[in-house]
Symmetry: D3
Subunit: 133 residues, 6 copies
Amino acid sequence: MATVPLVSDEEASAEVLAVFDDIRQVRGTEYVNNFWRALANDPALLRATWERLKQVMGPGALDPLTKEMIYVAVSTANSCEYCVHSHTTAAKAKGMSPEQHGELLAVIGMAMQTNGIATGLQVPVDDVFKASP
Amino acid sequence: MATVPLVSDEEASAEVLAVFDDIRQVRGTEYVNNFWRALANDPALLRATWERLKQVMGPGALDPLTKEMIYVAVSTANSCEYCVHSHTTAAKAKGMSPEQHGELLAVIGMAMQTNGIATGLQVPVDDVFKASP
Amino acid sequence: MATVPLVSDEEASAEVLAVFDDIRQVRGTEYVNNFWRALANDPALLRATWERLKQVMGPGALDPLTKEMIYVAVSTANSCEYCVHSHTTAAKAKGMSPEQHGELLAVIGMAMQTNGIATGLQVPVDDVFKASP
Amino acid sequence: MATVPLVSDEEASAEVLAVFDDIRQVRGTEYVNNFWRALANDPALLRATWERLKQVMGPGALDPLTKEMIYVAVSTANSCEYCVHSHTTAAKAKGMSPEQHGELLAVIGMAMQTNGIATGLQVPVDDVFKASP
Amino acid sequence: MATVPLVSDEEASAEVLAVFDDIRQVRGTEYVNNFWRALANDPALLRATWERLKQVMGPGALDPLTKEMIYVAVSTANSCEYCVHSHTTAAKAKGMSPEQHGELLAVIGMAMQTNGIATGLQVPVDDVFKASP
Amino acid sequence: MATVPLVSDEEASAEVLAVFDDIRQVRGTEYVNNFWRALANDPALLRATWERLKQVMGPGALDPLTKEMIYVAVSTANSCEYCVHSHTTAAKAKGMSPEQHGELLAVIGMAMQTNGIATGLQVPVDDVFKASP
C-alpha cells in the first residue's frame, strides 16, 4: 500500500542491513518497523534519517518520554497516521501512563483550539513576548 | 491589526472584567495579553476558553512545563505565530532552559521531517502498533 | 514584502487591466486589493483565478455569506494570514454580525480541537458514516 | 485500530455511561459513535468535550447546518479523516442537499487554492482589511 | 467509503460522460480513477476541475514531471493520502526514477524540518529576501 | 522578534563561526541570513541542520532549481513565511524565471485545491495506484 515496496531482510543490501542491525541493537528488539523498510529503497536517506533520529531522541536536557510526547503532538497536528501510531506506541513503551496519554490529548486539543481562534482573530503579538535582540 | 478590536479594561463589561481579573490572579501579573483582549468581543467564548485552558494546563499527570512544550510543538506545526510566541514565553517563565528549548526545536524538526517522509511514502501502519480493541 | 512586485494600474497590461476592471465592476468599488496586484505578474493565472472565484462565490445553493464564512474557516485552518483578513472583511461586508463572527470562531476552535483529539486517538471511522458505493 | 481501546457500554463506568446517555438523548439515537467510545478512556476529557460540543453546535446566531458545514471545512483543511466522515454525515442529517455539498466542496477547493497562492506570493495585507483598534 | 457514491459509466449523465471521455483521450487510457468518479456527483465541479488541471499540468515553462513532483510535495505537506498515491503514480508514469523519488522525499523531509524550526524560532524575514515593491 | 536572540559574528563561538564560514564559502557570499543566526543559539542543531541541508540540496538526480521549487511548495503548504521568502529568493538566484514562478504557483494552487476536494470527498485510493509489495 506504500508508494514504494517494503524491503525485507532478504532483499536488503549490506548497507541497508547494517542500519537494520543498528536499529535492532539500539532498540533491543528483532522487529524492524515498516517506516525503515520503506525508507530502505534509498539507503542514503535511510542511514541519514536513522542516525539523526537516534541522536535527537536520546536522553539530553529533555527525557526520552517527553520527547516522544512532543513527537506525537507534532505528528497529530500534521495528521501523520503512521507517525501517530508508531510514536504513541513508543511513548507507551517508555512509560506513558493512560493518565499522561489523556492529558497529552487534552493539551493537543486545547492548543489546536486556540491556534484556530488566535489565527482567526489575527491577534497581534504582544511586545512583551518578543525576545530581546 | 486583528480582525476585531482589542478590548481595553475601560471598554470591558463586568462579565469580561471578571475573567480578566481571574487571569491576573491565577498568573500573578497585572498584564492581560492580546489574545484575551481580542477574545473579549465574545464574552461567552472568552470565559469558556479561559476556564478550559486553566484546567487543562494546570498540574496533573504531566507537569506544567511539559504541557507548555507540547503546546509550542502543536502551535509550531500549525504555524500559529501568536501561539508560538506566547507559549514559548510561558515555557521560559516555567523554567525552560536554552538547552531544553534547543532540544524541543530539534524534536519538532525531526518529527516534521519524518511526518513528511512517512506521508510521502504512505507507509502502512504495522500491526504491532495497533492497540487491542 | 511580497515575493513579487505588486502591479499598479499604470504598469498593468491591457489584459491585466481588463481583469482589474471586472473586479471593480462586480464588487462595486474602485479598490483592487493586493492579492490581485500580486497575481497580475502572471496574467493567465490572474484571469483564471478571478473567473473561478467569481463563479464559486456567487449565489447558489449556499448564500454568499455562508460561503465567505466557510472560506474564513479553511483559511484559518491553513494559517493564511492574508486570506483570513480579506475574507473576514468580505464576510462583514456581506452582513456577518459580531455574534455570527463569534460563533464562527467558536466552531472553528471546536473543530480544530476534535480534529486533534480524533487524529491523536486514530479513531476508526464508524461503518454508519460511510456512504453507500 | 485506535491508539486506545474503544469503551463498550459494558465496560463503561457510571460517569462515562452518564455522558453516553446524554449523547443518546440529545441526538435521539441509540448509537454512540467511536469518537466518544475512544475518548471514554479519559472520562473527564470525554465530559468536557461533549459538554462544549453540545453548546457550540446548538442553534444560535448561526444555524446548525451552517455550523456543520464550517466544521467539515476545518476538518478537511486539517485532513482529519474521521471528522470529515462524521460531520459530513451530520450535515446530511441536518438537511445538506447534494447541491449544497457540491458547493461546500467547491468553496473549500477555492479557498485552499488561493490560500496556497497568497502564501506563496506572501501578499501583504491591505490596510483597508485591518480592523480599527 | 467516500462521502459520496462513485459514479460509474452506466450512471453517468451525458455531461459527465463527456468529461470522462476527455480524460480517457488526454491520458491515453480507458481507466478513469476514483477522484473523477466521486467528483462526478457535481458535474459542474467535475468539468471545471478537469479543465483547469489539464491546463495547469500540461507542458510550459516547467516540464510535466517537475510539475508532478511539486504536486506530490504539496499533497504530502497537506497529508492528502489519495493525492500522494495518485500523483506519485503519475510522476512514475512520466519517468520519475527511484533516485529522483528518493531525492524528492529527502527535499520534502528537509523542508518540513526547517519549516518547523523556522516557525518555532519565529525568525524574522531578512530584508534582502523581500522583493522590491 | 524571534523567540531567541540572533547571534552576530561578534557573539558567535568558534564552533558557530566555523559553520557561518562554511555557509559563506559554499554560497559565495558574505551574508549569513537570520535563520542560521537564530539557530546558532544551539550550535549542535546549527551544524546538523546545515550539514544536512548542504547535502540534500546539492546536485543529484534532481537539479538544484527543481529542489528549490519543491522546497517552496512544501513551505507554502506549511505556511512558513520565512521559508517561502528565503527559498523563493534562492530559486530566483538559481535561475527561476517569472514564467516558471507563475507555473510553480499555479501547480501549488491546483494541488491545494484538489487536496481539499479529495479529502472532503474521502476518495478511496484506486488499487492501480498501490505499489506492489
